[in-house]
Structure formats: structure tokens, C-alpha cells
């Protein structure tokens, strides 16, 4: 199967197999007008199987959230068909509207228009807590 290399954009590599669609949803890639490819079950020496996402477009993506989903992911930023930056995402300080607070006593349970915001409270243990009720993200 051939997926063309991209000119400008992102190659999100080393995604755990099966996680590609979740990332597609979380980054809201379905809303983009540019070409987006999800490759599932690609061969990988390191991981045996992996998912890859390619986004071909001169756009700015909010990819910080990937650090929360899986910090082993590799992000390649491509410009004029060359990789200009390659890195593993760090845990973001704040994630918005990616996970939902499960605490039934939280204000977000009755006021649906509020953003679901989680704040990093323990970097070592990767603990995020709801900005409002401080419940741990599950």
C-alpha cells in the first residue's frame, strides 16, 4: 500500500496499534480540509505493529495533547518535504475537552457548556485532576 510522502505538515509515528482513530478524533482531524491518512497495523521493528497518521497541509495542529495520550509517540514536522523537527510530546500542563470528568457531583455534570479541563498535578505519576472538582482523571 502506498501513501505518498507529504510536503508540509505532520507525520505522527509510533502510535500504539489501534490508537490511531482515537488520535484522529482527539485532534479533530476529520474537520480539516487537507489530506489526512491513517495507516493502521504498519510494520515496525520496535513495536511489531503500529499506527501512523499523516497530515498534509500547512496548518498548525494542537498536538500537545498527544503527550497525555501516549508520550512514546514520535511527531515529525515536515516542511518542503523535509523533516525539520522530530520529538516525543511532553505531558501537557492542561488538557481541554479530551476527557470528561466522571464525578457525578462535579459542576460539569450539570453545566454541559463548560469546557472539560484537566490540569497536570503530578508529573511523575502522570496525574491529571479536574480543574473544578479536583477528581483524578480515570
Amino acid at each position: 500500500m502506498n501513501i505518498d510522502s507529504i510536503k508540509n505538515g505532520y507525520v505522527i509515528d509510533h502510535i500504539k496499534e489501534g490508537k490511531g482513530m482515537q488520535i484522529y478524533e482527539d485532534l479533530k482531524l476529520g474537520e480539516l480540509n487537507c489530506p489526512v491518512a491513517i495507516i493502521k497495523n504498519a510494520k515496525s521493528n520496535k513495536m511489531q505493529k503500529k499506527d501512523i497518521i499523516k497530515v498534509d497541509g500547512n496548518i498548525q495542529l494542537n498536538i500537545d495533547v498527544l503527550g497525555y495520550i501516549d508520550s512514546d509517540i514520535t511527531i515529525n514536522v515536515v516542511k518542503d518535504s523535509k523533516i525539520i523537527k522530530k520529538y516525543h510530546p511532553e505531558l501537557p500542563e492542561k488538557i481541554t475537552n479530551i476527557i470528561k470528568c466522571k464525578n457525578p457531583r462535579c459542576i460539569t455534570s450539570i453545566e454541559q457548556e463548560l469546557d472539560q479541563v484537566f490540569v497536570l498535578t503530578d508529573k511523575e505519576k502522570r496525574v491529571y485532576r479536574c480543574k473544578y472538582c479536583e477528581s483524578k482523571a480515570k
Partner: protein, 304 residues
């Protein structure tokens, strides 16, 4: 300091400053009786809490200010489906400072984000109740004269009791504070408080089920209610309930200057026979609550 949502919002210095103002109010009430003249405090109680609301209203009236508000959600526009943000925006136009109690956790955070006037959290569900903690701190300061070098017994429901959790978080910032955690197995302090607050701050503590075991060591005994609905079966509740009722016999070996505290309302966890004992400080604690709220209102309105 613009709002007070969580006791952790306050530094040790800010707490000390509030306590000093409160102590000065106790000494010289007349000096403060017109400080808030022309100011309005709005009390938005989305769930009823007569004691806390009256304490705030009394505090503002003693400062020469005025109060308006509602005491339950049914008598507010919330009953029509209005959001917290909208209510706060509107009430902010009618008042200079807002006190709110809400059954949902985190509601005051939403309010503070939208409000043009200072917000005081007067309790959000089982989450935070910072003015109760400030009340407890002023009581300790006035009754014991210090925050350091104290052995504090916390008794009753240590699992769900938010006042106990906040008091621990506030007191671990002072040196040589020890805790005796007295509760039935079912209502022990949650492990995250032990790990994230006590162990992290290298605080000495002992867990026991026996209220009398360490009575002679305590400088402060903070009582809370053991509620029936917290138990999985009634037999356990019946077996344990009387062990945590404080009476004259249980404090027989206590220090002369023991200070017995309780956030109130009390049901039966402290015998009324203790009420006249000089060690009983829980009604004084309610009085201190008004003074610390006066200090807080002044501070947030930048009147002192």
C-alpha cells in the same frame, strides 16, 4: 487575593494576616463597625446552610455593610435553569462581594472565572469549605496561642469529613505538628491524604480506633460526626457509634488546657454535659467564625 475558593489559595503569610485582623476586630470592634458602609454582600446559597449564611450576614452587618441574597436554589433563577456563570454576572452588578454555597463541586471556580467582584466559597458539596478551616485556625490561634508544636486528635468520620482534610492540609505547614487519627476502620483517613499530605510533609501521625488511648497527649481534640449512612451494615454502626461519643469520662485523663472543637452542627457525638467544661471550645469556635469572616470580607474588599 481576589477570591477565596480553596484554603490552599492562601499562603501562610496571608492566613497570619487574616488572623491578626480578626484578633484586632475582637479587641476593637468599634474600629471596624463602619468599614463596609455602603457596601453590599450577596449571599447566594444554592443549598441551605443557615449557620454559615447567618455567620456571613452577621459579619457584614457588623462591618456596617448590607446584605442581600437567597437561601435555597428554589428561590433563585437556578430553578429556571440559569447557569452559575449567568447568576454570578448578574449578581456582580448588584453587589460588591459574593458568598456562595453550591451543592456541586467546583461551582465556585466557575463563578470566580466570570465574576467582576470577589467570590468567597462557603462550601461546594463535599469539596472545599475554606472559611470553616479559617475559623478552625483562628480558634486554635486564640485558644492555644500558636500553630506549631501541637498534638491534634481528629476523631470520627475521617474518610468523608472535608473539614478534617482541609484542617490537616492547613496545619501541615507549621512545624512540630502531630496528628492522632481516631476513627473506626470503615472511616479511616483516605490513603491519598496520608501519602500526598502527611507523608509528603513528613508529619508524624498515629491511627487508632480508641478515643481514650492518646487522650493525655492531645492539645486539641477535633470531633466530627459518625454518620449512620456511611456504614455498609447497621450492625457495624451500632457496634461503633457509642465509642465516638465524647463524654466526661473519656476526657478524664486529658491535659488541663485541652481544646475540644467541632465544626457543628452536633447531633450526639459530644455529650451536652461537656458544654460547660472550660475545655469545650465549639461554641466559641462558631463565634470566631464570624470574626474571621469579617477579616476576610475586609481583605477581599481591600478595606484593611
Amino acid at each position: 487575593m481576589k477570591h477565596l475558593i480553596d484554603i490552599k489559595d492562601l499562603s501562610v503569610e496571608e492566613i497570619d494576616e487574616l488572623i491578626e485582623v480578626a484578633k484586632d476586630i475582637i479587641k476593637n470592634p468599634d474600629k471596624y463597625s463602619k468599614k463596609c458602609e455602603g457596601k453590599i454582600l450577596a449571599t447566594l446559597f444554592f443549598e441551605p446552610s443557615t449557620r454559615t449564611r447567618l455567620s456571613f450576614e452577621s459579619a457584614m452587618l457588623r462591618l456596617g455593610g448590607n446584605v442581600l441574597g437567597f437561601s435555597e436554589a428554589n428561590s433563585s433563577s437556578t430553578a429556571k435553569g440559569e447557569s452559575v456563570s449567568d447568576t454570578i454576572r448578574v449578581v456582580g452588578e448588584y453587589s460588591d462581594i459574593i458568598v456562595m454555597r453550591h451543592p456541586k463541586e467546583g461551582a465556585p471556580v466557575v463563578a470566580a472565572e466570570k465574576s467582576i467582584v470577589p467570590i468567597i466559597n462557603a462550601g461546594d458539596g463535599g469539596h472545599n469549605h475554606p472559611t470553616q478551616t479559617l475559623t478552625d485556625l483562628l480558634t486554635i490561634k486564640c485558644e492555644k496561642g500558636r500553630f506549631d508544636n501541637l498534638t491534634i486528635g481528629l476523631c470520627g468520620d475521617l474518610k468523608f469529613g472535608r473539614t478534617v482534610h482541609s484542617l490537616i492540609s492547613a496545619m501541615v505547614r507549621y512545624p512540630k505538628v502531630k496528628f492522632i487519627l481516631i476513627s473506626p476502620e470503615e472511616l479511616k483517613i483516605p490513603s491519598y491524604i496520608k501519602k500526598e499530605v502527611l507523608d509528603k510533609n513528613k508529619i508524624e501521625y498515629i491511627e487508632t480506633q480508641n478515643i481514650e488511648e492518646y487522650m493525655n497527649k492531645l492539645d486539641i481534640l477535633y470531633m466530627t460526626r459518625v454518620q449512620k449512612e456511611r456504614f455498609f451494615n447497621e450492625a457495624d454502626y451500632i457496634r461503633l457509634k457509642d465509642s465516638y461519643i465524647l463524654d466526661e469520662e473519656k476526657i478524664i485523663n486529658s491535659k488541663k488546657d485541652l481544646c475540644i472543637m467541632h465544626p457543628l452542627p452536633r447531633v450526639n457525638e459530644i455529650s451536652v454535659k461537656i458544654d460547660n467544661n472550660p475545655k469545650a471550645c465549639y461554641f466559641k469556635q462558631a463565634k470566631y467564625g464570624k470574626f474571621i469572616r469579617m477579616a476576610l470580607i475586609l481583605k477581599l474588599l481591600e478595606e484593611c
